[in-house]
Amino acid sequence: MSDTAAAEEAPRMQRARDGRLVAGVGAGMARHLGISTTVVRLALLALGFAGIGIAVYFALVFFVPAEAAADPRERAESARRQGRDLAQLLAYLAVAGVVGMLFLVFGGLFDPLLWLIVFGAIGGAILWQQANPAQRDEWVSATSLRSRTGVLRAGAGILLIVIGVFGFLAFQQQLHEARAGLTFAVATLAGISLVAAPWIVGLVRERDRERRERIRNQERAELAAHIHDSVLHTLTLIQRRAEDPREVQRLARVQERALRGWLYQRPADAETTVKAALERVAAEVEEVHGVPIDVVCVGDGDMDDAIHAELRAAREAMVNASKYAGPETVSVYGEVEPEQVLVFVRDRGPGFDLDAVPQDRMGVRGSIVGRMERHGGSARIRTSPGEGTEVQLTMPRIKGAE
């Protein structure tokens, strides 16, 4: 936690998830107070010897909420960091020390009573850990109940407690006096379970249903927001521009493409694959000039510099077609082959006499033919009056690009 934040207002205390040792109380308190974790842990440890520290610790475990879970990747990252954390190593050593101290108090490793208390305490800790407020959600949810680790953990906890309790009773030679009481307790518990089980199952189902409903509502809201921002907006624009058919068509095409992309397409990166890049170029030209451009692309592959140049030439060809060929659809066909990338741009306009184009006209010669040749490709223009125009661009692919 940064100093400035601590100075303004201490953050609400939360049990830490990252860099925690047991339940995150120490780390959380250190963040809350803005002091070193090691200091807090040592203080808790010192209090622990007096007995009060342990009580305080457990009280904090139950009453202080844990931090929200970080996303798994981050957690894995922090788990890796954890391994190298010296302060934490020290803390583990301290805990080991406390345990050792307990052994000494109870008179050595071979006192079974000590082991039974330890079993019971660990089992209880495991179960409580699972049932604490932050994790209860996971615990009750269907997925975590079905997850093997969850079941395994709960089972281990229960087993440890049972061993602890029965062992304790047996060791104290009170097992057989307790039997009558135990039978009664077990029978009562079984009865209560039978009564309560359907109700609990119902509650869990209800909760799942509510969660699904909530997710669905969220999706609906998101969809509504998207439709509102895009489609409704465009429809309003179309109504206002109703007297300009060209503009109306342009708006409709732009909106159609956006919606289609949102609904069907994977988010392809226009910078990395030929097909997506070609489609994007066509979309941009279409938006500026308002002439529909249909793109068909066969095959796909990675972009390289030469293909970038080819697409710039293709853009120039599309712009020319849009400007001079009238309102008819321009057809763009791309073909990605292992050795080369072909792009055809075809319009159905009046066409022109190629030889009649003056040498100094930049459009065709400079932007298209020149650009292609500089990058090792070629351009061929087929046109004649009345036949429309087709520009054919060929660019060899860089070896090893595939």
Binding site: L263, D294, V296, V298, S331, F344, R346
Partner: protein
């Protein structure tokens, strides 16, 4: 969608002696159905409309049209389901798929299901009428996009074809498809390749047959692998 090739076979008459094909429009958008009806005008005779799979099957059985304009996405199982149920009993009915979705999976799906062509809903009324007449005549209509999809589907792979007759396109068929994908109409394709329009039609029909009959493993895997909805 670009241009759909048209070559006149104007003198042909259709079932029932009518001079124009009798058409059923199947689409779940009423607005779109009436729009198409209006655009087609006198070029075809619209004998029925349907908005879902069950009513489509019923209307087609009732009227026995020359051609069905079939939307790919329909409540009750989609256009593929209509194709399956109608063609089992009325194999003579021809289908032209018409869809707003130009995802490869949908397009290849309906064509393999038995449609003899595919155009997108942005096609102009005149082009649509041409395509209808052509399909009703028994030819295939390949839009540039469908041609592109087919080229992709039959793209050369290392896997040996199971049935070379069906799993591969000939060089000529490939040339024809590439020209169609470039936006050439059938007669332009014919001129470009120095062949007759009839030959172009033969090639396209042959491609259609391969597309429908090929069990090529790649073909189905291709559609799913692309995950295009």
């Amino acid at each position: 969608m670009g241009t759909v090739a048209y070559v006149g076979d104007d003198n042909e008459t259709f079932a029932g002696g009518a001079a124009v094909p009798r058409v059923v429009i199947v689409d779940d958008h009423r607005l779109f159905r009436s729009g198409v009806r209006g655009e087609l005008g006198d070029a075809v005779e619209v004998v029925g409309e349907a908005g879902d799979v069950d009513s489509a099957v019923r209307v087609i059985a009732e009227h026995g049209p020359d051609l069905v304009l079939l939307d790919v996405h329909l409540p009750g199982g989609g256009g593929v389901e209509v194709l399956r149920r109608v063609l089992a009993r009325q194999p003579e009915v021809r289908f032209l798929a018409l869809s707003v979705s130009d995802a490869a999976e949908d397009v290849i799906g309906v064509v393999r299901g038995g449609a003899r062509g595919y155009v997108t809903k942005t096609i102009s009324g005149r082009e649509l009428a041409d395509a209808i007449v052509r399909v009703a005549d028994g030819d295939a209509v390949f839009s540039p996009r469908l041609a592109g999809f087919v080229l992709d589907a039959f793209a050369a792979t290392d896997a040996p074809p199971m049935d070379p007759e069906l799993d591969r396109l000939t060089q000529r068929e490939r040339e024809v498809l590439r020209l169609i994908a470039r936006g050439y109409a059938y007669k332009e394709v014919a001129k470009e390749l120095f062949i007759s329009v009839k030959t172009v039609e033969t090639h396209v029909s042959s491609v259609l047959r391969k597309l429908q009959l090929s069990n090529r493993h790649e073909l189905s895997r291709w559609a799913t692998a692309r995950k295009l909805v």
